[in-house]
């Protein structure tokens, strides 16, 4: 026998003695992998529930944001004056929405578009807008123009500054309003949920 033939016989012998996997081994290994997948699938189910819950919260936040943005775009006191015309208190607070679905609109460009504000029940969510009239006072230092006019040394300390605390008295009314938008919805597991956003609007000279 040559050296080359003996090597061929050796390789042939090695191929002939390769072993495989038994059926029992395959079944047991599949069972182990299946048990390993159980917590993974359980985790996926839990994260799906959490994602659905988060989605409702995010939708509520976006609805509150959209509503407040629209309400702030209306001219100052436009919405509150509607409530006063229906007999509400002159100094507020004025509440809109809930079970009643008022719709406000304000023409922006004639014949083209208008600003719209929708409150009340919208799908699974209920939106409420409350407007409060906030009293306004300031702390400031006022100067004397006459003293400044005679100042030749450019020294601001000689301008006769006076400190005013909580000025004016009584506080100004009807120039600053607080807008509170609250969105309500129901969660099957944890019941009634709500989300509030607050902002302010001042009566500014354009």
């Amino acid at each position: 026998m040559t050296r080359k033939n003996s090597r061929n016989i050796f390789i042939f012998h090695r191929i002939d003695t390769w072993s495989g996997f038994t059926l029992t081994e395959i079944v047991l290994s599949i069972a182990v992998l299946a048990f390993a997948f159980i917590p993974i699938i359980g985790g996926m189910g839990t994260s799906l529930k959490a994602t659905t819950k988060d989605e409702r919260i995010v939708q509520g936040i976006h609805l509150a944001q959209t509503t407040l943005n629209a309400a702030l775009q209306f001219p100052f006191d436009e919405i509150a004056s509607w409530s006063r015309s229906k007999g509400s208190a002159a100094n507020g607070p004025w509440t809109f929405g809930g079970t009643v679905q008022p719709q406000f609109s304000y023409p922006t460009t004639p014949g083209v578009g208008s600003l719209a504000l929708r409150l009340g029940v919208q799908g699974d969510y209920t939106t409420v807008l409350t407007i409060y009239d906030e009293p306004v006072q300031f702390n400031l230092m006022v100067y004397s123009p006459a003293s400044r006019a005679i100042d030749t040394k450019n020294d601001p300390t000689t301008w006769n500054w006076t400190s005013l605390e909580n000025y004016p008295t009584p506080a100004l009314r009807g120039v600053y309003q607080k807008f509170v938008v609250t969105v309500f919805w129901s969660d099957k597991q944890s019941g009634q949920k709500f989300y509030s956003l607050v902002s302010y609007k001042a009566k500014l000279v354009e």
Partner: protein, 169 residues
């Protein structure tokens, strides 16, 4: 070496156990990562609340400027002469231009108190185009669920138009 390993009985079981262990480790790492990441709804909530409150306080600052423009301009002129006390008193020193421990913007999942103040109110003048504007910056701060302070700066620039009300030209 490889063939000898495959000849041993039960290698399929060992391989499957190794893969199962690797999968379980990946699940544990993923779960820890998800637990530590802040939920997106809280981040959106923080951003939105602070933005609206800051914008509302900036409106009040603009109202103050519109009611007392002469005193603001005088304080600004004093600042140019290196006397900053008067502009500080107009802006930062006014407790009415602050909102402290504001809790009305609450929700079912968050009741943190927010603090907002006007941090600066500066006059911008462009002599080339004869334009003037006022830039108001507001800062909102509140403590997040992880105990860290979360800050947000909101800036609003308003164009000014000065008109003389002198009885003569």
């Amino acid at each position: 070496m490889k063939i000898r390993f495959l000849k041993i009985r039960g290698t399929a079981l060992i391989l499957s156990l190794v893969f199962a262990t690797l999968l379980l480790e990946m699940v544990i790492a993923y779960t820890k990562m998800v637990q530590q990441a802040p939920p997106q709804n809280f981040q959106i909530d923080e951003r939105v609340k602070m933005d609206f409150l800051s914008q509302g306080l900036i409106e009040k600052a603009i109202l103050k400027f519109q009611l007392f423009p002469a005193d603001y301009y005088a304080a600004n002129d004093a600042l140019k002469l290196n006397k900053s006390d008067y502009i500080k008193a107009f802006v930062i020193g006014d407790s009415n231009l602050m909102i402290s421990n504001f809790a009305e913007a609450s929700s079912s999942f968050s009741d943190s108190k927010i603090n907002v103040c006007i941090s600066s109110m500066s006059l911008l003048t462009n002599f080339q185009y004869n334009q003037e504007a006022i830039r108001i910056q507001s800062q909102a701060v509140y403590t997040g669920k992880n105990g860290k302070n979360i800050e947000k700066d909101v800036v609003r620039t308003v164009r000014l138009n000065r008109q003389s009300n002198a009885p003569f030209k």
